[in-house]
Symmetry: C3
Subunit: 324 residues, 3 copies
Amino acid sequence: MSKNIFFKRSDPFLISELFKSNQYEVDNKVFDIKTLSNASSQDISFLDSAKYREFAVSTNALCCLTTQELKKYLPKKCIPIVVKSVLFDLVKVTKKFYPSADLDYPDETLLKSEKSKYPSVKFSNNVLIGSNVEIGNNTTIGSNTIIEHNVSIGSNCVIGSQVVIKNSIIGNRVVVQDGCKIGLKGFGFIPIKGKNIRMPHIGKVILKDGVELGSNCTIDRGSIDDTMIGENTFLDNQVHMAHNVKIGNNCMIAGQVGFAGSSIIGDNVSIGGQAGISGHLKIGNNVKIGGGSGVVKNVKDNSIIMGYPADSLKNFIKDLKKND
Amino acid sequence: MSKNIFFKRSDPFLISELFKSNQYEVDNKVFDIKTLSNASSQDISFLDSAKYREFAVSTNALCCLTTQELKKYLPKKCIPIVVKSVLFDLVKVTKKFYPSADLDYPDETLLKSEKSKYPSVKFSNNVLIGSNVEIGNNTTIGSNTIIEHNVSIGSNCVIGSQVVIKNSIIGNRVVVQDGCKIGLKGFGFIPIKGKNIRMPHIGKVILKDGVELGSNCTIDRGSIDDTMIGENTFLDNQVHMAHNVKIGNNCMIAGQVGFAGSSIIGDNVSIGGQAGISGHLKIGNNVKIGGGSGVVKNVKDNSIIMGYPADSLKNFIKDLKKND
Amino acid sequence: MSKNIFFKRSDPFLISELFKSNQYEVDNKVFDIKTLSNASSQDISFLDSAKYREFAVSTNALCCLTTQELKKYLPKKCIPIVVKSVLFDLVKVTKKFYPSADLDYPDETLLKSEKSKYPSVKFSNNVLIGSNVEIGNNTTIGSNTIIEHNVSIGSNCVIGSQVVIKNSIIGNRVVVQDGCKIGLKGFGFIPIKGKNIRMPHIGKVILKDGVELGSNCTIDRGSIDDTMIGENTFLDNQVHMAHNVKIGNNCMIAGQVGFAGSSIIGDNVSIGGQAGISGHLKIGNNVKIGGGSGVVKNVKDNSIIMGYPADSLKNFIKDLKKND
């Protein structure tokens, strides 16, 4: 079972401790909360939409938060925990396991960088480094940048000035330009009048080898899952990536593009400036999305789309002519 | 008369000192410049649009900059100062009262935070604090953050790293993520060829209890009025709020949304990512605005709108079908 | 021949050293790489589109990267270097002249600002200044701001906090609000699967007298050319300007506007919030562009345009009515 290196987890709970009102035939210990595909036989997971049934049928989870209607997708060995609102109970259970992941409290382990601890790293002025940070050979870190505890950065990276990186695993040859904020908690909460209940964000940000981020980008970490950018994908300035978004390899994302939560983008995708991608979508490989588009539906491989809402380029041009 | 704690005000002027070319029956002393609803009987105010006539009729202002056409909305006790361009004279008068509010000069009172002065506050590294800053119990402030003079922050707040806060009053349990810039002067000036004349910004930013701001947001302070975010309202990353915008309670504002100046947003409003709200609009309560929308008209309570320009969701879908 | 003060240039190459496979009648020394209009008789230039033929016919360049089809636009004295992909060879040649301009490595000359070196400048806390920086009288620099080597800033400027400025020439009375990142390399590269090849950015950012930038703007430097903002032009918060963009005098650019690379904007242009301007366009003088517009074509002087894609305001309103 892989350990969460960024957030302190509570001791395991019995199922009956987590859900007191219910009675379960088996009352095993639950060690962690994970997505359907990542969960082991000691973990709890969650299924809140038929969209994710393919992950449900093959999950190894010990038990799973779900609804009366969706529980049929779970394998026999997985104990269904039927609740009214999966999201609400997900928040409650996640908070039990990770009591301090709902907010980004300042890292108390930060210290001014010491050349002696990282002899092969080039630090500019006033760099702050948390405990257990790993940085590869020949990486440079710009002035006033903050790298919080347990972050790992590969070799030959160029990290700019006034950057914040937390809860992130960063590969080799990664470039992060000035002012980026990486690994902060995302915009996830249950809006209950008078008091929003925040979703703990126990995921991380993964930037694969060769990724480049332009200046002032904001890349939120995952909630239960991770946020990820694939090899050799370049983002321009002021791009916003919400929690759990995954972008494939060799993509080009132009300035001020925004990704709502949990969308999955394929390989070799190019997205023009200021386009927006709604949440929970699947964008195929080799897709081209025109600047300013608003994408609200899944997109097949090799599509060229444009418009608000985005449609095939052919239809977009046809509609323009109709209006002439 | 409430004092402006952020900007130094000149001594009072006689009406005849402010407007030398005009003759007024009464020549009282004017102490301050305020909005129609905030002005007391010692203040000057301004009325530049019939839109604000409801505030005009009940103003307590001693005198008011206005036009020949609009002066009829002012109560008898209020002396009308009729001018050609209300905005131009407003700038001139505001500059007389507040000579240094047109630009954000660096705060010369900033010093490295001292635990001894704020024993119940947790400061991370290199925090800079101006004079007369108040911070409540159990609030944490991230590294490299700057809190300028006279700012007040409540208790149990979590302020991130690389944040700047000036000219702001912040409640309890407020969360400000990394990189936010709060309380800077807004984009207000009179474009005269070859030399723009800047509107002094003597207002502040008010964040009520339980507000949350995502990373790299920019919240400008008010010009004469204040910029305000109501209780329990959450903003995602990279949101831009211009001067004088007021957002109600329990709203959800997604990433990269932009608000032009002086719009007023009700309670329980949700706005999707990258939507834009034009200036001087009134958006009702319980309104839902789709992502990417461009809102250019007032919106009634309980509306669901989408599109560019935004229309009712019903019409938006009808138009889409028409183009199929 | 004007010197590039920001990037170290290699010694001159013979044409035959740059292009080994080709044979040229004359084999002169090439000293630098420049745009068609800036090149002297010792420089190499490039012509990759008929769009730029007016600059080609009058270039003073010694030689020019171009294609079989475009070489006819070059004057007789200019040696055409015919290649398959002008952009690809441009990257190769630029890298030979400027081996370290493809990435923004941290400035190793940064030191904490010293009052003694700049007696007429007002520094706030923790300002970092590189070597050979020039700052004019009565300019103020906010806390935690970084000004890298060889940058020049005029007099009576107000530079905010947490700003980064590199590779830039800044005039008098310029205002830069908190969090701006100015002069970083742009989003230019040749996407080759598995390994993007970065375009060196050897240009700079020029901000003329009286320019104002709102908070958290990102202004990339030019690639071969410069990025420029004309006198008295004001930008609001979170504006993104890509490499080589040129904005004229007395323009008003509202919040969150984005400019793709190499577009040229005239004088007295106003652009509403969140509008996007595509790359390589020419926008005339006195143009008004509505908020949220997506501009994809050249725009004539005195036009008023709006929409996505942007059209004349008249057509935009006609189309709206058609959909009613």
